[in-house]
Symmetry: C2
Subunit: 396 residues, 2 copies
């Protein structure tokens, strides 16, 4: 790195996933490393038609500079959907359009974090969030995840012991663990946030991908002040349109608008106009239902294979939605060692330690089923089992 | 602002332009406040056709997550154009696609600036850059602009007296002044940058909009190390596709890729694919030539009206390209006072003080001719002259 660079550039975690994906790129490799949507469901033709349509009806705004907040009809659509789906009252003025929910993380880091500020994060936590927030040089306070969401006793201890600016969480089908917060957990977290006056960043890119159980309301249902809810069109329409949003109070929005303006003025007006036209012309509920049928089958098969094949020393989560199954080896075993053996067997995944800010998690790893067909999941899980049995048979 | 916000949120200049544009929004108002491209030249139909075409030939990559660096064919196109236009050797690996050149400023601020770091900026300087860089809490060192570019004697003094991280400049048809660096100035700046080991951020959104004189090479022609060149498709195709780029060395690129990944993973893959298809299918040189004919006529008319009507106490620049004419009132007069009188006469512009980081420039203002037709320029300049004569007649 150049000696002219800012000190924050030395704090950034290694771009570990780039290496993983490089290893996973050989043609015979079966990769469970991804976690991207299955491209066969992208509404490619419909998006091309939406482009023709929006131009045909003379909508020229989408080719000019737009408002920092985003394209108003798209913000109205998002607000209305929160009302219909969860009965939430959201004004379009409480929605900021972002470049996927990833940009939401960067903007919120910019608005909230001074160097040295403390923030709470799930352990394991989303790697992309760790990367985005790292740029603002916070001190991460990891809090363990349990089966039904964050460990609230540990969360309260963290809030007591430190002046925490915000708690960042993925409440539905978490990346990387696949776990979901129960209704009770959500309510309990809201109480703690209010008691300790901590802001909340709820990242919800996967919430629509539910294959079992009932949808649960976002934190805003329990608490409004200083709560920021991040959503995304990446998993339900296409990551390539690169659009997501932040839903929050007018007070936080004032800071976000300044941050967004200074970041890139506004999200892509062309893509916003095309996406909005797509949403007008197509039944998004039917589309989501269709992709959920396919993802559910993929999840079911991966879990059935794990049940049938995995040695009992490997435990794993049973996600109600999303894209991830999270696996744990016996404590003394390393998922990096498993990774090297798996690459020899031509199957890939993501070792878990990158998801921990405190250097733990060496014995964990993440599997994704989102882009693999039946044959790949069956064969890949066989290969992975062979690699795991080799590792477990070794003296450590 | 929320008490949970980071301290940087207190440093941001007021969103002064929002107020200006609000004043300028009444229907009878003639606005020279803008500075956005003329929407009548947007290749709307061609972009819709490009979308259909890119989908038709089965290009699905543009709907998936893409590479942080951007869409490779688009980066190759940009590199090749630098070779053809200026004989510059640029590798696609030295190009990062950004959300307009505005995002380039934010990413470079993130990569280079620790709080309290010093940076040099033209006086007057681009307001959007002041906003973006402010978020990283630097100390701005303003350096005066002369007719043929920066005052190099003052620049050297600034480099001598302070440890400057980078010098930020708009070398062609500067915003707000309309001024252009001469060939000699470019070479002299390169020497100073090298001597004092200062990085350079060359913002060039307007370079293609030249109406007189010969194109001059960017700084990279004179110096490569730590030189960052920002370009944009906003002024030559459409701001709505929201795409620009940074061209720099591999060393700086390493930091930029981390910053970009943490900011929003990648620029809009869909818009990148569509824009690239548009560039393949259309003659961009012919398009640029066409818009330059129109902008030249608008510039000529505005300058002719100023020559004919303006009281001689008002001086103004004669830009060789771009969108801006920069005006100066007598020293004791305020352009804010002129602004209020101009609004009464139903003509708007941008008072100049927001372009100065040191609180000077009270007697300056910016006119843009980019979106106004002949009748508007004639009538608007008459109204502005009336307002100016009223102001100049007042005792101050």
């Amino acid at each position: 790195m150049s000696k002219l660079f800012a000190s924050r550039m030395n704090n950034v975690p290694n771009s570990f996933l780039r290496e993983i994906f490089r290893s996973a790129s050989s043609p015979r490799m079966i990769s469970f490393a991804g976690g991207v949507p299955n491209p066969k469901f992208f509404p490619v033709q419909e998006l091309a038609e939406a482009t023709a349509r929006v131009v045909q009806r003379g909508e020229r705004r989408i080719f000019q500079y737009g408002f920092t907040e985003g394209f108003l009809p798209l913000r109205e659509w998002i607000a209305e959907r929160y009302r219909q789906k969860y009965g939430l009252t959201v004004e379009p003025g409480e929605i900021l359009i972002t470049n996927g929910s990833q940009q939401g993380l960067d903007l919120l880091g910019k608005v909230f974090l001074d160097p040295g500020d403390q923030m709470a994060i799930e352990s394991p936590g989303y790697l992309g969030a760790i990367l985005s927030f790292s740029m603002y040089q916070p001190r991460f306070q990891p809090v363990p995840l349990l089966e039904d969401g964050i460990d609230t006793a540990a969360l309260e201890k963290t809030f007591q012991a430190n002046r925490i600016k915000f708690f960042y969480a993925v409440t539905n089908f978490q990346n990387p663990s696949g776990l979901t917060y129960s209704e009770q957990k959500r309510a309990a977290v809201a109480q703690l946030l209010q008691k300790y006056q901590v802001a909340f960043i709820e990242d919800d890119p996967y919430g629509e991908l539910r294959y079992a159980g009932q949808p649960l309301p976002p934190m805003r249902h329990y608490l409004v002040e200083n709560v920021c809810l991040l959503g995304s069109f990446s998993k339900i329409v296409s990551p390539g349109v690169r659009l997501g949003w932040i839903c929050t109070t007018q007070e936080v929005m004032k800071g976000l608008i300044l941050a967004k303006q200074s970041a890139d003025l506004q999200s892509n007006p062309f893509a916003q106009g095309v996406l909005h036209q797509y949403l007008l012309d197509n039944d998004i509920e039917a589309h989501i239902a269709k992709i959920n049928v396919a993802y559910r089958e993929q999840r079911d098969l991966m879990l059935a294979m794990a049940e049938e094949l995995f040695p009992e020393e490997i435990t794993y989560t049973k996600p109600e939605g999303g894209m991830f199954v999270w696996c744990t080896l016996p404590e003394h075993k390393s998922a990096m060692d498993l990774f090297h053996r798996a690459i020899e067997e031509e199957v890939a995944f993501v070792p878990g330690r990158a998801f921990y800010v405190d250097g733990t998690g060496e014995n964990t790893f993440r599997l994704s089923f989102s882009t693999n067909d039946e044959a790949e999941i069956e064969e890949g899980m066989k290969r992975l089992t062979r690699a795991a049995k080799r590792l477990l048979a070794e003296k450590s």
